[in-house]
């Protein structure tokens, strides 16, 4: 099993619903977030192109954050989900430094927090909160090993990219372009 997400940059309108849904679902303290929207303007006037991206932890296959963690608090769950055990985390910040996507933050209580793909929902067979609230239905989530999952179908049918592939982390959030 390998969970992954594909996000359609052509459908996303940047409404931030996924951000708010995550904050609510995961009790993210005010002023912090586990996912965020990036608006990229490319080109030169008048030939501009805009891309909207909902970003979060990429649940990398070759995860530097897990490698550098001195206590093993950062670890990989079944299905490739990268998580932090808060009672093992000493808050050293090594994993924050190691993430090329800046997907982690220091929780006010001291431990490090990040996107979990809503692991507590996955085990119940539900989709992550961000995916289920998206009003444009631009996010596809599922198991890459299952060729009939939403994400496999989306990736099969559309051109896609990942962010900073040169960082070598093998990210698992795909952007449909």
């Amino acid at each position: 099993m390998r969970y992954a997400m594909a996000i359609d940059t052509k459908k996303c309108v940047g409404c931030s619903d996924c951000v708010v849904a995550c904050q609510t679902e995961n009790d993210v303290p005010i002023g912090f977030c586990r996912d965020w929207i990036v608006e990229v303007m490319d080109g030169s006037y008048p030939n501009l192109e805009m891309e909207l991206r909902s970003e979060r932890c990429n649940h990398c296959d070759n995860a530097p954050c897990v490698r550098c963690c001195p206590t093993g608090a950062s670890h990989i769950e079944e299905g490739g989900v990268v998580k932090v055990k808060k009672h093992r985390c000493i808050g050293c910040g090594a994993c924050i430094q190691s993430c090329p996507y800046d997907a982690r933050y220091s929780h006010p209580e001291g431990y490090v927090d990040k996107c979990t793909f809503c692991y507590h929902r996955l085990v119940k067979g539900e989709k992550p909160a961000c995916v289920s609230v998206c009003p444009t239905k631009c996010m596809y989530f599922g198991d890459l090993d299952d060729e009939n999952s939403d994400v496999s179908i989306a990736l099969r049918n559309r051109k896609h990219k990942v962010l900073a592939p040169e960082a070598g982390t093998k990210p698992h959030i795909f952007y449909l372009i």
Binding site: G14, S16, V19, P29, G31, F32, C33, D35, W36, I37, V38, E39, V40, M41, D42, G43, S44, Y45, E55, P64, R67, C68, C69, P70, T71, G72, A73, K86, H87, R88, C89, I90, G91, C92, G93, A94, I96, Q97, S98, C99, P100, Y101, D102, Y105, S106, E109, G110, Y111, V112, L163, A164, E166, A167, G168
Partner: protein
Amino acid sequence: MKEELFVSGRAIPNIDPYLNIWHWQIPVYLFLGGLAAGLLFFAALYTLLGKEKQMPTAVKWATFLVPPALVLGLLSLFLDLKHKMFFWQLYTVIRLESPMSWGAWTLLIITPISILWSMMFLRELLEAWKGKDGKPAPMAVWSLKFLEKNQWIEQFIQWLVKYRKVLAWLMIYYGLILGIYTGILLSAFNARPLWNTSLLGPLFLVSGLSTAAATIMWMSKDHLERSTISRIDLMLIGIELFLIVHLFMGFLASSAVQIEAASLFLGGPYTVMFWVFVVFMGLILPAILETLELLGYKIPVMIPAILILFGGLVFRFVMVEAGQITRYLY
């Protein structure tokens, strides 16, 4: 023109300043670690070379600084942790993949070794400890009496002295690991292009050795010892300059993110800090002063020593600060 804007996430004020998660504690920790590693290295080296008589400061007196340096270093690492009550989790596993983990273990081994080492010279230190009036200091008299009464301490020290070569080998080995570790802690992060170069390990090691040499020079009262260490220091400074040039050559011949990282030092905000305070004042100027002193000019050794120590500290601050603003995306 290419523009990238954020509409949320990074605009949330609590996260971005927190991403620069390492502040003064880490450079101070790296500085003290490098200094301690260098002092242990020199002490062990001259012991193994059989030069204990000629190099008393390197072998004996300077090593009294090591335990406090290591303890302060660990303390500043501790202050950096955000989840402090879970500190002990560091010592529940050994994770070889994580530099932070084996650094923490190395410190756990090397701190007691350094305490044992300086214990060997405790009696000598106490006997030489004089108050302002030239009489033995009361504290020293009391401690010596305490040693008299507790013969087992004396016996333990005798035992240590017998096996000091073993201790010395351990110190060389762990000293080098600690010195290199201070650089590898940073270079293991591929996400921060400025740090992600294998030159950082040797560079931090040599810089640590050089700060240690400066300390020994400063403390030493023996002319011969001073000039020996001063010659070694000149060599170390030479290697450091060479590594720095290579560091930038490597960056400029590398990928876009590393070229960008180098530009922070080549015209960017850290240019003056680095080239003036680290390279000129911390390396070139002390090297000139040391050369003049070796040629027979009267220069208080304190000046180059302070310059080197200060340069070494600033170097670590600059690298840690600047590294954190280099990144892959936006």
